[in-house]
């Protein structure tokens, strides 16, 4: 049977306040970029980002700091949203459609160059296996560390490192071949 002090400690840890506006500002770009990696840049990534935050916001009272970092919690939701999306769309390589960015959103040359690069990158990432796509999206889209990804995916941190390393190597090779064409 749990002791009273221990219980209070657990409950106290569970009820620390969270600065939701700060959390939103910090995580929005990460979640959006994660979805850009998963489904391509554009309205669909925005829709899935919005769905993720709405779910997180609605369930935010259930979040407990002692169980996981808030970022991990939000990305758990994001991954579920992505899974739901793919299940519905029955498509796992939507990155080929990347680039559906409204013309008035990005401006002039820099934006164009960035967009070109990402469109190309996205096209190649879409050729990788699903698991590698997911891990690249978490690492480079969401900017997560290996430990965080490990906590989220259930893999060990070293395993995450190995898979990402191989995926990057494979991706670079694909891009070099593409450059030579």
């Amino acid at each position: 049977m749990i002791t009273q002090p221990r219980l209070i400690e657990r409950l106290t840890a569970a009820t620390q306040p969270v600065d939701w506006d700060a959390v939103f500002a910090a995580l929005l770009p990460k979640v959006y970029r994660y979805f850009c990696y998963r489904v391509g840049e554009g309205p669909l990534a925005e829709d899935l980002t919005a769905t993720t935050f709405e779910k997180a916001w609605t369930k935010r009272t259930r979040y407990r700091q002692d169980l996981s970092s808030f970022s991990t919690w939000v990305f758990t939701i994001a991954r579920n949203v992505a899974t739901d999306h793919f299940r519905t769309a029955r498509a796992t390589a939507p990155l080929a459609d990347a680039g559906a960015v409204p013309a008035d959103v990005l401006s002039p040359e820099a934006a164009f160059a960035q967009r070109e690069h990402f469109v190309r990158l996205a096209r190649h990432i879409g050729q990788l296996p699903e698991r590698e796509q997911e891990l690249l999206a978490l690492k480079y889209g969401a900017g997560m560390g290996q430990q965080e990804i490990a906590a989220l995916t259930g893999l060990t941190a070293s395993h995450v490192g190995v898979i990402v390393h191989r995926a990057v190597k494979q991706l670079r090779a694909i891009m070099e071949v593409d450059d030579e064409r």
Partner: protein, 422 residues
């Protein structure tokens, strides 16, 4: 590993999208807050109902409570300003205390003599309360008496009587003994913090009379109580049991004083995530489509929690109302089964339960009927309220039957809930 090419050119979030999303989230928050307020209100009402309806006499108290808690009277008028002046004048003029001497309906005198609600909650089977309260003005103070007689016994000499006398200044709290009572046998009894004297003496009709006398101080005022009966079947234990269930009218008063204050609310899924054993308090079988309301209210004084379940039916305002509410906690210090004529005993499995309709809600809810059922399971007192149509008695029976049998073992842990309240 050179992986810069993977982070080069990452798209930024459109400011317009970020702003729109943030606005949407705050909109959700506002809706949740409104919903929480609605939940709090519903749960508070549920709590009040479950508390006040466990106290007899049910009808009189309910009316009294509604009048006290509601405190509003709406009158249509053609000349509001004049009416308002009259109302203000009436409120600013102290009303002289009415002088009662005679027999009065309980609801008429309960405001002047609220301590009549201290009458025993428990009575032996078959007794019905006399709807009249006897008030006598005596030199030693006003004597207020409630009486019970065997049901359908008329003419009837058998009675249980509970007299309350407000003692003037200077009276000690030591109760009167058997002085002046010929042939009385006496016994000193501890009644909570008070010392009481139990008397047994011959009655004028040949039998014997029980009388239990004690004095107590409440809110700075001193009272003398005398519980007596000439019922020859009544035992000493019956007398003591009745005496132990006196004084709960003050609990109602306490509720009245607490009106307007909000009950502490906690998030139930959060608590259950930390302390999953608490789920053993909860019924496992629910009517189809019902889900547990995540907000749980805590009534700190009585250590009861109040929960609710929503069905799938959505009302006009777009949300499903709480259709079943349940309070669970330590039993009151009294057996809750009271027997005014509106309460009937029902069996829930092998458990005896008290069930009644909240008739006064018909006025506000002509299309529905709201019922309450209270029973003891595993040393915990469960009171469920539900509205028909939508939920049936059988649904409630199944819920009660599905309460795990080991829930009582959690009683000791109940206090922790108080530590997580805001």
């Amino acid at each position: 590993m050179n992986d810069e090419f993977l982070t080069h050119g990452l798209p930024d979030v459109r400011p317009a999208f970020a702003k729109a999303l943030q606005g949407k989230l705050h909109g959700i928050e506002r809706r949740q807050r409104r919903r929480t307020h609605a939940v709090v209100s519903a749960l508070v009402v549920g709590l009040l109902l479950s508390l006040m309806l466990t106290l007899p006499p049910v009808r009189a108290q309910v009316r009294w409570l509604l009048r006290e808690i509601g405190g509003f009277k709406f009158v249509e008028t053609e000349n509001p300003q004049e009416e308002w002046k009259a109302v203000r004048t009436a409120f600013s003029t102290p009303t002289p205390a009415p002088s009662f001497d005679g027999d009065y309906l309980m609801e008429r005198v309960v405001e002047a003599f609220p301590y009549i609600l201290d009458a025993p909650v428990w009575k032996p089977d078959g007794y019905a309360q006399n709807e009249y309260v006897i008030i006598r003005q005596k030199p030693e103070g006003t004597l207020v008496t409630a009486r019970w007689r065997p049901f359908a016994c008329s003419p009837c000499e058998t009675y249980i009587s509970f007299e309350i006398r407000k003692l003037p200044e200077g009276f000690s709290l030591i109760p009167a003994g058997s002085e002046g009572v010929a042939g009385a046998g006496t016994e000193t009894i501890n009644l909570g913090d008070q010392t009481a004297t139990l008397l047994r003496f011959p009655s004028t009709n040949g039998g014997a009379v029980w009388a239990l006398v004690w004095r107590a101080e409440k809110d700075g005022e001193r009272f003398e109580y005398r519980l007596s009966s000439n019922d020859q079947k009544l035992t000493r234990e019956d007398m003591l049991r009745m005496a132990h269930t006196t004084g709960f009218g003050w609990y109602v008063e306490k509720i009245r004083q607490r009106r307007g204050s909000e009950l502490p609310m906690v998030n139930l899924p959060e608590i259950l995530a930390v302390y999953p054993e608490l789920a053993r308090f909860l019924p496992t079988r629910l009517p189809e489509g019902f889900t547990l309301e995540p907000q749980m209210a805590i009534e700190p004084d009585s250590q009861r929690v109040i929960l609710g379940w929503r069905g799938e039916n959505v009302d006009d305002s777009g949300h499903a109302p709480i259709a079943i509410s349940m309070s669970v906690g330590r039993p009151f210090d009294v057996p809750f089964v009271v027997k005014p004529d509106t309460v009937k005993e029902v069996m829930v499995g092998h458990t005896v339960a008290a069930m009644w309709e909240l008739e006064f809600l018909r006025e506000h809810d002509p299309d529905g009927r709201t019922y309450s059922l209270c029973c003891l399971r595993n040393d915990l007192q469960y009171c469920l309220s539900w509205r028909e149509p939508g939920v049936t008695f059988d649904d409630i029976v199944r819920m009660v039957e599905s309460i795990p049998d080991d829930a009582g073992a959690l009683l000791e842990e109940f206090e922790f809930l108080l530590d997580v309240t805001p």
